[in-house]
């Protein structure tokens, strides 16, 4: 695109550059275009070649005209080549316009899923910490309680009781924690498998369609 806008000096140079610029089109289209301009410049005659080249303009411009019309014709014809009703050019245009939206959107969705996962994990983890703390505190109360029993039996008994209650609640929470963790791991695994399957289906489906 940033190559010189000056017309090439010779027919051969023009044709070579034109062929370069037409890359991406079907071979037959390129060949037809090249032979047309080859013939055109030959018909202009050697004495008019420079003038004809100047009038044609840069190979990039000529190529743009050819490609633009080719795509347009392809898009407006309702026959052959194009796969469905929606044709190449629209897919490209929609793709270009959607890219700035789709990409950040995909990132946002990934971030959202990740943060939800993290939130769930942290709730579960806090359960675990609470449970563990209760069990440990219960143990401590139990120990202190036994010691206190020597001096004051009633206070010691109360402390031992509190410790036992704390340990009971703590272990109950631990059970809940283990259960929740199992559910989350299962859920993530199932979700992941489903997504993977859908992805595979879509890919194979696309291959079949094209």
């Amino acid at each position: 695109m940033s190559t010189s806008t000056q017309a090439p000096a010779t027919k051969l140079a023009f044709l070579a550059q034109l062929e370069q610029k037409l890359k991406g089109m079907p071979e037959s289209e390129i060949a037809t275009a090249i032979s047309y301009y080859d013939e055109y410049l030959s018909d202009a005659g050697p004495e008019n070649e420079a003038k004809a080249l100047a009038q044609l303009g840069s190979p990039a411009e000529v190529a743009a005209g050819i490609m633009g019309d080719y795509v347009h014709a392809d898009a407006t014809s309702d026959n052959k080549t194009v796969v469905g009703g929606l044709n190449n050019i629209w897919v490209v245009i929609i793709g270009i316009f959607a890219a700035p939206i789709a990409l950040p959107m995909a990132l946002a969705i990934i971030a959202l899923i990740f943060s939800l996962l993290m939130a769930a994990l942290s709730v579960v983890f806090s359960f675990f910490v609470t449970a563990a703390a209760l069990v440990l505190a219960g143990l401590a109360y139990l120990g202190v309680g036994f010691f206190t029993m020597a001096t004051s039996f009633a206070t010691g008994l109360l402390t031992v009781g509190i410790g036992l209650v704390a340990m009971a609640i703590g272990s109950a929470l631990l059970i809940v924690f283990i259960w929740a963790l199992r559910q989350i791991i299962n859920g993530v695994a199932v979700l992941g498998a489903k997504l993977l399957q859908r992805w595979n289906n879509r890919n194979t489906g696309r291959e079949v369609a094209s």
């Binding site: 047309y36 301009y37 013939e39 018909d43 004809a52 005209g65 014709a73 014809s77």
Partner: protein, 129 residues
């Protein structure tokens, strides 16, 4: 000041070819003699008309190489007729407005209707028979 849209350009090329078969260079020169078009606009037009079967090509040897001639088909003649009719109507309407300042009360509607007709022609490419 004015530029030919693709359906008018198609029509002009078909009209020149309706007179006689031509090859790329002399066709371009014939058209350029009358109206200024860029040298590179004709090839896409020819290619499109060929794909739409408005014209066919044949090669003839000329001084050690081949020259590709373009010949109008029956479908091309039919299309040319349609373009000529549409153009005549359009021209009348533009004259009504541009030259006479719009005598008819409903001339703008007619212009609109004709514009959509021309647009439709562009959209359809070569499908109309």
């Amino acid at each position: 000041m004015f530029q030919l849209g693709s359906s008018l350009l198609d029509g002009c090329v078909l009209a020149v070819l309706a007179r006689e078969d031509a090859y790329g260079y002399n066709l371009t020169q014939d058209i350029k003699e009358v109206i200024s078009v860029s040298e590179s606009t004709l090839y896409p037009v020819l290619r499109r008309l060929q794909k739409d079967e408005m014209l066919t090509t044949y090669d003839q040897p000329h001084s050690g190489r081949n020259r590709r001639y373009y010949r109008i088909t029956d479908a091309g003649r039919e299309r040319l007729g349609q373009t000529q009719t549409a153009w005549t109507d359009f021209k009348t309407d533009v004259d009504t407005l541009l030259i006479e300042g719009g005598k008819k009360a409903d001339s703008s509607d007619i212009i609109k209707a004709n514009n959509t007709e021309v647009d439709a022609d562009i959209q359809k490419g070569g499908d109309s028979t």
